[in-house]
């Protein structure tokens, strides 16, 4: 069973979901992520920070209508890491139906 591409950073469900959203969207802002994932501010911020520290996403802070707006984008490193993780998950699933 080859799970060498399994990535501990993506073990957490919320991080898995954040990354999945960032794969499908060029960027996503904090409030929209929060709403979509039904997460608390603290839990979401902490997991975004983990992904940022790992170099999997970048943060862009700006003002929209004078209100602070924080949005997130995946990096190339993040995209590659997530794709690899999905390969590991696919291998695991295939294993079950052999």
């Amino acid at each position: 069973m080859d799970l060498s591409l399994y990535n501990k950073i993506f073990e957490n469900r919320l991080r898995l979901q954040i990354m999945s959203i960032l794969m499908a969207n060029e960027f996503y802002d904090f409030s929209s992520l929060k709403e979509l994932l039904d997460a608390t501010d603290g839990n979401l911020a902490s997991n975004l920070k983990t992904l940022e520290k790992e170099g999997y996403l970048t943060v862009e802070k700006s003002f929209v209508d004078r209100k602070p707006n924080t949005r997130y984008m995946k990096t190339d490193k993040g995209r590659k890491a997530f794709e690899n993780h999905l390969i590991a998950l696919e291998n695991l699933i295939k294993q079950q139906y052999k």
Copy 2:
């Protein structure tokens, strides 16, 4: 993105692997799991205990050639939980290729 079946018990890679092995085999003993997964005694035992406490596997202790032998079997509850978790992972993967 429906990850409602995502199961935090299976977030851990080692627990995912243990359960995957127990899905494919009627039973598996501690030493063989250890060898196959290249895990330490402590880490393996601790994660097996988590799965046992959750009711996902049962433990059977016996003697083989006068040596203690501990083997593990999935329960119906464990099988069902793991199948559901795989559905969640499949949904996540499909989402990526939409």
